[in-house]
């Protein structure tokens, strides 16, 4: 007879886990805490958003092209804010991604070991600089420079915000890339080298194509981070709720709108509800971006394990 082993007392890793005592239950509940918080976040965002629809239609909220919360009657169209966020995020990602690759290649292929170690420490340090400090740089140094050099109305614009977001994101993006680069399967590299490939050829033809998956997931995760970043865009995107047509136009991204206006609105007003609605949009779009990033990463890891 094939007997299935005891249910109550199976060991670690078994799927038949049953909570046997208080400690198990406490640990089990803590494991679920993140879920509870996520659900609570969703609940409270909706709870403070839904009353908006007593006065504003969902279509106007999502597709309205004007965000003028202080005129009478107020207008709560979030489309220009969303477009501004997308534009800034994409532009920043376009800058971040290749720059991070260049820095990563320099670290892993060119720099001597000691220098590489120093760069790693520096990137770790730089990544801990609070975003408000980068906002300060953008505001007081980059902005006047842009304004004078390009003869603009304002140096607080999409380009400036994207640039500072790029500085914010390079360290983590590059260090994620470096992790994958370093753990790239040795045999494949040796295989290419045994055929007489130069290191640049190995890099171009073997390593980078092999890392397509992880790099795609890194791009998504960086994007998720850029998308919801607040202080930099609050300080230097220009705070103008228009559709930015050029990268030198000012803009008002979603997150900056919440940060700038929440302090000036009263609890329970349509404006208050609308700001929570923007929170809902940010929450779900970043969730979506992160989920894609995560699933690409998991898929890659599973492929690696199979090989």
């Amino acid at each position: 007879m094939l007997q299935k082993l005891g249910k109550g007392d199976v060991d670690i890793f078994s799927p038949h886990f049953k909570k046997n005592n208080v400690v198990d239950s406490v640990l089990w509940s803590s494991g679920w805490l993140s879920n509870v918080i996520i659900i609570a976040i969703i609940f409270f965002l909706f709870y403070n958003w839904v009353p908006l629809f007593k006065t504003v239609s969902p279509i106007e909220f999502f597709f309205g092209t004007r965000w003028y919360p202080t005129v009478t009657p107020p207008l709560y169209g979030t489309l220009p804010l969303l477009i501004a966020t997308i534009e800034i995020s994409l532009f920043s990602l376009i800058l971040t991604f290749p720059i991070s690759i260049v820095v990563t290649i320099f670290m892993t292929f060119i720099a001597p070991k000691k220098i590489r170690y120093l760069i790693k420490i520096f990137l770790e340090f730089f990544s801990s600089i609070p975003s408000v400090v980068l906002g300060l740089i953008g505001l007081s140094i980059v902005s006047p420079y842009l304004q004078n050099t390009f003869n603009l109305d304002t140096g607080l614009n999409v380009f400036n915000a994207s640039l500072m977001l790029t500085f914010l994101t390079i360290p983590i993006t590059a260090s994620m890339m470096e992790d994958f680069m370093v753990s790239f399967p040795r045999e494949q590299i040796e295989g290419a080298e045994a055929l007489g490939a130069t290191s640049i050829e190995t890099l171009w033809k073997v390593i980078l194509p092999g890392l397509k998956g992880p790099f795609a997931s890194i791009a998504m995760l960086s994007m998720g981070r850029i998308f919801g970043e607040t202080m930099i865009v609050l300080m230097i995107a220009g705070n103008a709720a228009i559709f930015p047509t050029s990268i030198f136009d000012p803009a008002k991204p979603l997150s900056a709108t919440i940060a700038a206006e929440m302090g000036e609105t009263a609890v329970g007003t349509p404006h208050f509800y609308a700001l929570f609605g923007i929170g809902v949009i940010i929450f779900f779009i970043t969730l979506f971006i992160n989920l894609i990033g995560e699933s690409i990463r998991i898929k890659y890891e599973m492929e690696m394990r199979r090989n």
Binding site: L2, L5, G6, D9, D11, F13, S14
Partner: protein, 251 residues
């Protein structure tokens, strides 16, 4: 011969794969029984089935019985904690906890509810003595166990297993990761311990079995080929397979 563990028709599976096939024999009490056989034959699985270490793998299944004191330890009603108090285990690679020597040995007692400092001290001392490591560490029981040499770590692991006063001690190739001198020390310890404990040792080293074993069980491809007194198995095996193994055909 007094019997400690009765193995009855024991089979074990990982998923669909049968690792042990209908093994039946009695493990004698207060003696050293060596489990020998070529690598991959199921020796390790056999001892890990006795104290149910393999329960942690979800696709692991067994059938048959292992009787200890008239009770089937494979039964799901048999409490795992008390099983492991009665059957101790020492692993292939020394695996002390990253704690002090004292805490390592006292761990088993502490988790089973013994708090009295005097009892703990006494038990730690006697266990370390029994594992022949006390003299080397007595002045520094608070030293982290990872600072010990491989052979010392392994004897510490034996002391740790002894502290909970088991009846049976399982050893899964305990000397395969340490040097010959340390191996000799551990073999001496085991011979001494066999006066009071039932010892089951897995080894792929037939000389080791010859040196210390009172009984030998030869397992091949998951089946028990032969079991008997060590000198009989070594000098006049009944089965051709055993003879081939002893003369080095499979090693």
């Amino acid at each position: 011969m007094e019997v400690s563990l009765k193995i009855e028709n024991l089979s074990a599976y990982f998923g669909e794969k049968k690792i042990l096939d209908s093994i039946t024999f009695d493990i004698p009490s207060k003696a050293i029984t060596a489990i020998v056989g070529p690598s991959g034959c199921g020796k390790s699985t056999f001892v890990r089935t006795i104290n149910r270490m393999n329960d942690r793998f979800e696709n692991f299944r067994t059938s048959g019985r292992i009787i200890l004191d008239g009770e089937d330890v494979l039964s799901k009603n048999y409490p795992l904690e008390s099983l492991r108090m009665r059957i101790g285990m020492v692993f292939q690679r020394p695996n002390p906890f990253p704690k002090s020597i004292y805490e390592n040995v006292a761990f088993g007692l502490k988790i089973h509810g013994i708090k009295d400092k005097k009892t703990l001290d006494e038990s730690v001392r006697s266990s370390l003595k029994a594992a022949a490591i006390y003299e080397q560490v007595k002045d520094n029981l608070s030293l982290n166990a990872y600072k010990l040499s491989g052979g010392q770590q392994q004897r510490l692991c034996i002391a740790r297993a002894l502290a909970v006063k088991p009846e049976v001690i399982l050893l899964d190739e305990p000397t395969s990761a340490i040097d010959p001198i340390a191996t000799k020390q551990i073999e001496d310890v085991l011979e001494k311990l066999s006066e009071d404990y039932t010892i089951v040792i897995v080894t792929h080293n037939i000389q080791q079995a010859a040196r210390i074993a009172d009984y030998i069980a030869f397992i091949y491809l998951g089946k028990l080929v032969e079991f008997g007194k060590a000198e009989e198995i070594l000098t006049s095996p009944k089965e051709k397979l055993t003879n081939d193994y002893l003369t080095g055909v499979y090693s």
